[in-house]
């Protein structure tokens, strides 16, 4: 079992090479769009790579589909919808914003705001905290006796 896992690991670390010249579109604008879209589509048979970075057959198939759809005139959003309709949201490397992912998208701001409030209240609480009570004359004499004269002490 371990060997199989190990072999799978080796396959997974085959270095990414991605799009081949034969797949590329002639129109450079469309080709750039195709690559940008490809960078946001997950290769489902790889270990966390995009279809642009992988040389798996599946990745190649999807790259061709992306280019096909662009040639047919689809917008970027339409291409993503086309692929996601077939493979689900898992294929999108940028998670869609829907109720299940609200926590994901809004949490960073929420954490910042909550953290800010905590810090704010902490600072406010500290400002009203009483400062040290001044020493009485007797206490000051005792302090001098313990630590030596004030000048030397303050030089620290």
């Amino acid at each position: 079992m371990k060997r199989i896992l190990f072999l799978l690991l080796m396959l997974a670390t085959t270095p990414a090479l991605g799009v081949e010249p034969a797949e590329m579109l002639d129109d450079p604008v469309l080709e750039t769009r195709a690559r940008e879209i490809g960078r946001e589509l997950r290769c489902l048979v790889c270990q966390n790579e995009s279809i642009e970075d992988s040389n798996a057959d599946f990745a190649r198939d999807l790259r061709l589909v992306v280019r096909e759809r662009l040639l047919a005139g689809d917008s970027d959003g339409q291409v993503f919808d086309y692929i996601a309709a077939r493979y689900g949201d898992f294929v999108l490397l940028q998670p869609p914003v829907k109720p299940a992912t609200w926590a994901l998208w809004f949490a960073p701001a929420a954490i910042l705001i909550v953290g800010g409030f905590i810090a704010f209240f902490y600072l406010r609480g500290r400002r009203t905290a009483p400062g040290p009570v001044p020493l009485s004359a007797a206490e000051r004499d005792r302090l001098d006796a313990l630590t030596g004269p004030a000048e030397k002490r303050d030089a620290q």
Binding site: D61, V65, Y87, G88, V91
Partner: protein
Amino acid sequence: MRRLIFILPLALFGVIAAYFVAGLDPARDPSAVPSALIDRPAPAFALDPLDPAAPVLDNVAIAGQIALVNFFASWCLPCRVEHPLLQQLAQEQNLPIYGIVYKDEPAAIRRWLDDLGNPYAVVAVDPDSRTAIDFGVYGVPETYVIDREGRIRFRFAGPLDPMTIENILLPLLTTLRE
């Protein structure tokens, strides 16, 4: 109130740890992809059959019955492993299984079927994998259960095994037949 703030990190950690424990469930496969087409109509397709004399395999051909669609290839080892189970299913359940060839040569498929036997009602070839992509296939073997209205009800990625057939497939078929 102040005390509550100090308990917060521990509470949060507890929740996260619970998720980690759930994540270790051996039944969980982090790379498994759920199908996007469950309860949706099967995608439109029309494929040439392996046998030139047979008619084209398309949605009309599989309509009106409960059917299995199985994507496979001769170079695929797990397909070989699930093959006897498919034969068993075809016979015992009186279930038409339609085979779609994924990234393979017709000659190699014919040899493979001659060697192992042919459980399929019809075998069709998907030369550019477009139909596979329309179904959401990302590897072989994959098996789809399609009901009488032509909707996909179940997708299994990987070789079928007796437990899945016993616990999921057969009960589903029973439900669909009613």
